[in-house]
Amino acid sequence: MDKTISCLKAAVADIPDKARLMIGGFGGSGAPIELIHALIDRFRATGSPKDLTVINNNAGNGSVGIAAMIKAGMVRKMICSFPRSSNAEAFNEKYLAGEIELELVPQGTLAERIRAAGAGIPAFYTPTSFGTELADGKPTEEFDGKLYVRERWLRADYAIIKAQLGDALGNLTYRLAGRNFNPLMAMAANRSIAQVSNLVDLGSIDPEVVVTPGIFVDGIVEVPHPRQEEALVRAGVVY
């Protein structure tokens, strides 16, 4: 079996309008910038995919990556924990103009909801957000004298993620803190596409150090020497 996809264009060709799309990374760390830009290229060429719901910790920075998707008008809704950051004008402007929806989720709850989707756990209880407005309307329950909020899993149609090493079966490792949401999103989407910096021979990743087993990955595309989103933002790159 070989999950390798020959090019970025083919890797994102199937993502439809209105898809729920998870995008890995935390800020620029671990962000699959080449896959995102391939998706923007497709939108510019064809008008699709549009009306996307994007799930990411943030809401884009500068004029590359998710920020460029938002500027291009592909995103209908963001589900994230921290859209307000420096250089987040792309989201801010659309949001304040009422042109983009926002579902704000505490960061740990966001991670756990994504993991729950991958784990077949439809709901769980967390102390996080109890008694706050982010828990409004959610069921609550007392366990052992403490109060908790019930949260639902967060599933997606597609995930695009960034990894370091990958093999043809989709086994992945990550780079430094670029791991973050990437392994979770791989589990939680119906179809997960990973860009890897190095596509290596089957058997050359030690089974002990695989972070994402290939069962969670559907497609893999090699992007040697990937660009780093934060470095692009700092360089003022506009995509």
Binding site: G118, G120, L169, M187, P213, G214, F216
Partner: protein, 225 residues
């Protein structure tokens, strides 16, 4: 009256033919494990075991076992290229989270609505469940391999299970010693039966109605003994 039936090896062979190239598969302890031996040439199948291994292969040579490298049945295994290790919670994410293409289990009873009983016959003794109750949920297909009847000739395919359940409405296909049967909308739908056995004879040893949708195919397997 049963004149001829498939051996366990032949049932396993038949089940193996339906496993697609590239499938992620969990084979239950015991009889279902035999399916791996009959994996058709040219198809890559990636086997999962509950205790945290994906991509394992057959048993090592005797004397070369490493008892830290075992499957859920506590048998020594080997690794295929592209294998990975993970902890038990991640392992059951794969199971419960819908990531396996197929789980195959044994059965005491299967009901026409897909209920499975395979962990306890409800008598005294030490109960044990292992991963069976998890495996019946999440896999895209949950199949059973089983003799068609019990040792004393009673149907194992029944209207409703009388033994304690492993899972509710979970089985989608049965590979028995006499037939291949799908479970669709709470009914047994006959897909294949041994050539020479009449539908009436098959029905006589089946505890719930067999539904026919198009002619059943002949259940043909090689001699394997």
């Amino acid at each position: 009256m049963i004149e001829r039936k498939l051996s366990n090896a032949q049932i396993a062979w038949r089940a193996a033919q339906d496993i697609e190239h590239g499938a992620y598969v969990n084979l239950g302890i015991g009889f279902p494990e035999m399916i791996a031996k009959f994996q058709p040439e040219g198809r890559d199948v990636i086997y999962h075991t509950e205790n945290g291994v994906l991509g394992f292969g057959g048993a090592p040579k005797e004397g070369e076992e490493d008892w830290d490298l075992i499957n859920a049945g506590k048998k020594a295994i080997t690794l295929e290229p592209g294998a990975s290790f993970f902890h038990h919670a991640d392992s059951f994410c794969m199971v419960r989270g819908g990531h396996l293409d197929l789980a195959v289990l044994g059965a005491y009873q299967v009901a026409q609505n897909g209920d499975l009983a395979n962990w306890s016959v409800g008598t005294r003794g030490v109960p044990a469940v292992g991963g069976a109750m998890d495996l019946v949920h999440g896999a895209k297909r949950v199949a059973v391999v089983t003799d068609h009847v019990t040792k004393d000739g009673k149907p194992k395919l029944v209207e409703a299970c009388t033994f304690p359940l492993t899972g509710v409405g979970c089985v989608t296909r049965i590979y028995s010693s006499l037939a291949v049967i799908d479970i669709i909308d709470d009914r047994f739908v006959l897909r294949e039966k041994l050539p020479g056995m009449s539908i009436d004879d098959l029905q006589a040893v089946t505890g719930a109605p067999l539904h026919i949708e198009g002619d059943p195919l002949d259940l043909l397997v090689p001699a394997l003994d």
